[in-house]
């Protein structure tokens, strides 16, 4: 095979080449046994919550509508929302931190980063592909939780038209659509957290350190968000409006807080992606 043959056969197809690298990145992410176990844990926790609710529903009389957890007993779809509520504070951010820590620091730690860069892949392109794969990872994480909620809910409770927090009733299809929107909303927030993780991942060659630091940032943001003396700061915290996805259960949907939340997510993502680029652009790859 001569050089000429190979070169003549090629016409540049930038989109296809880009998707190929993204596919490789996602394949790497989802082929890791650790990440598969993580998906299993996200799924299983909701099953546990479902079982706990099933058991307690037998003993405890239902509280009035407005309490998400007790609403589950009346309709399995609510378990999707309940699962998201349970996991958004710790488990989903932790999962994102694990993925983000791996992205740059993991490759640097193994030395595979230098072989990617001399393959070659432009540093900006690599960073964007890693950012997009993290966003997809965030979406998959939130989707797994919601899916587990619906499946467990269907198995343990009945699925039917659901009663909104405003007291109106929604059909099953409309209820599931609201759940999909909640997944999308939380995926945006988690993606913003993932960009913080991506930036931290460019600072170190130790993936565990990047993961721990990202998880600490997330936890710190949640703690700050509960300190009443800091209420002036709350609107600026990434996690402040994450729980507003329950506004999707009102009729009509109350969008104000979620729209603001998406802007905050976008601002965090933009700032930290830019910082990651500034750091990674000229970084000496000595690993």
């Amino acid at each position: 095979m001569s050089a000429a043959e190979v070169v003549v056969a090629r016409r540049p197809r930038p989109v296809r080449a880009w998707l190929r690298l993204l596919g490789s990145e996602l394949g790497l992410m989802f082929s890791r046994r650790r990440n598969r176990v993580g998906v299993g844990i996200l799924f299983g926790l909701v099953v546990l919550v479902g079982i706990a609710l099933k058991v307690s529903a037998v003993r405890r009389p239902r509280s009035p509508a407005g309490d998400l957890m007790s609403a589950v007993a009346g309709n399995g779809i609510f378990l999707g929302f309940a699962g998201l509520t349970v996991e958004i504070a710790l488990f989903l951010p932790l999962a994102v931190a694990v993925l983000a820590g791996d992205t740059v620091a993991g490759e640097a730690n193994q030395g595979t980063l230098r072989y990617l860069l001399i393959a070659p892949v432009a540093r900006g392109r690599l960073l964007v592909v890693k950012a997009v794969s993290l966003a997809i990872g965030s979406l998959v994480g939130a989707a797994v939780v919601a899916l587990s909620g619906v499946l467990t809910g269907a198995a343990l409770f009945n699925i039917g038209p659901l009663t909104t927090l405003s007291g109106t009733r929604l059909g099953v299809a409309e209820g599931l659509l609201r759940l999909v929107l909640a997944v999308g909303y939380l995926a945006a927030g988690l993606s913003a957290l993932a960009m913080i993780g991506l930036f931290i991942s460019t600072l170190t060659e130790q993936p565990i350190a990047a993961t721990v630091a990202t998880a600490m940032v997330s936890t710190l943001l949640w703690i700050l968000d509960t300190v009443p003396q800091l209420d002036w700061l709350h609107p600026w915290l990434l996690v402040d409006r994450w729980l507003s996805f329950v506004d999707l259960l009102r009729d009509p949907v109350f969008t104000d807080r979620m729209v603001t939340g998406l802007w905050v997510d976008a601002a965090y993502a933009a700032v930290f992606l830019a910082l990651a680029w500034l750091r990674f652009r000229d970084k000496d790859i000595t690993s």
Partner: protein
């Protein structure tokens, strides 16, 4: 791939005053590399002399503090994505994902290069694996590979595309004698096809057998560079003569103009310089001195290295 005349005439690798500090330590000190097209260039020096840092700068992994470098006539690192598809490299040992197979690892490296053709990827990966003798281990996970197999996989990654330049940092590290011979054969074969090969090593014997050109690093400086024959000429050929009459023999040597003759156990040694060995033997016999043995000692690369740096090769800079 169209290339301007200027860049075709340019050296495969060139650098001018390339310099790098890590913190306060000067690691690479103003080196001017010149690797002609088609050469097999041996880049030698003790551990810690700045070889790998230089290679990382050439490949755009590390930014130089000052100075410039180019590959195949294109400035690095600014032209990295344009020129690196034509450069295969093994840098500081192989590095792959442990839980992916050798084959999957090569496909991942291939996917990173946006110019590589996905349709031929599988066949290129297969032929690269075949070339380094890893076909049977293609589906094995990298973590199960031995050190030598890992090294081979690293070389396979460098051979995924037809290359104009190969940069191989310690390519035979961890290989058994058989593997070492195979790599040497591979390099010779690639060089025969016109590929320029830049091979760093601390194994002088390996370089001696492979290379047409040589660059010698010592404590961050390029202390010598040029065609192997020119550098070899720097080292005087020495001789050793076995005789029972060392004292008169030294006197004869002096009359022939060999000034550095010296007695050793069982005879004398000296450097030949411009004096032909047969003249010495004739003069000795004519003077009635018994010559039991006369050995011309061709200098090794190690002698050259000692002469250039004034120190043993294994002394770290």
């Amino acid at each position: 791939m169209p290339e301007s005349q200027a860049s075709q005439d340019s050296p495969a690798i060139a650098s001018s005053a390339l310099t790098k500090h890590f913190g306060r330590q000067l690691v690479v000190d103003a080196i001017d590399l010149d690797v002609p097209r088609g050469a097999v260039y041996g880049f030698i020096g003790p551990n810690g002399s700045g070889k790998t840092t230089t290679i990382r700068m050439l490949l755009g992994l590390i930014r130089p503090d000052s100075g410039a470098c180019s590959l195949l006539g294109h400035d690095m690192p600014s032209a990295a994505t344009g020129v690196l598809p034509r450069v295969g490299a093994l840098v500081e040992g192989p590095a792959f994902h442990p839980y992916l197979s050798g084959q999957a690892n090569l496909l991942r490296v291939d996917a990173a290069d946006r110019r590589s053709d996905p349709e031929t990827a599988a066949s290129r990966v297969a032929s690269a694996l075949d070339r380094v003798g890893l076909t049977v281990a293609a589906a094995k996970k990298y973590r199960a590979y031995s050190l030598g197999m890992r090294q081979r996989l690293g070389i396979a990654a460098a051979l995924l595309q037809p290359r104009d330049l190969l940069v191989l940092d310690e390519p035979t590290n961890g290989l058994d004698p058989q593997g070492t011979r195979e790599v040497r054969h591979l390099v010779t074969e690639l060089a025969g096809d016109g590929t320029t090969v830049f091979v760093s090593s601390h194994l002088l014997a390996e370089v001696e057998q492979l290379c047409t050109h040589l660059g010698v690093m010592r404590a961050g400086r390029l202390v010598a560079q040029g065609p192997m024959s020119e550098l070899r000429a720097l080292t005087a050929t020495r001789f050793r003569m076995r005789t029972t009459d060392p004292v008169p023999a030294l006197a004869v040597l002096a009359t022939l103009g060999v000034s550095d003759g010296a007695p050793v156990d069982g005879g004398i040694v000296g450097s030949l310089g411009q004096v032909a060995p047969e003249w010495i033997v004739q003069a000795m016999v004519r003077a009635g001195i018994s010559v039991a043995e006369f050995i011309q000692v061709t200098p090794t690369l190690e002698d050259l290295f000692v002469q250039l740096t004034g120190e043993g090769f294994d002394v770290s800079g």
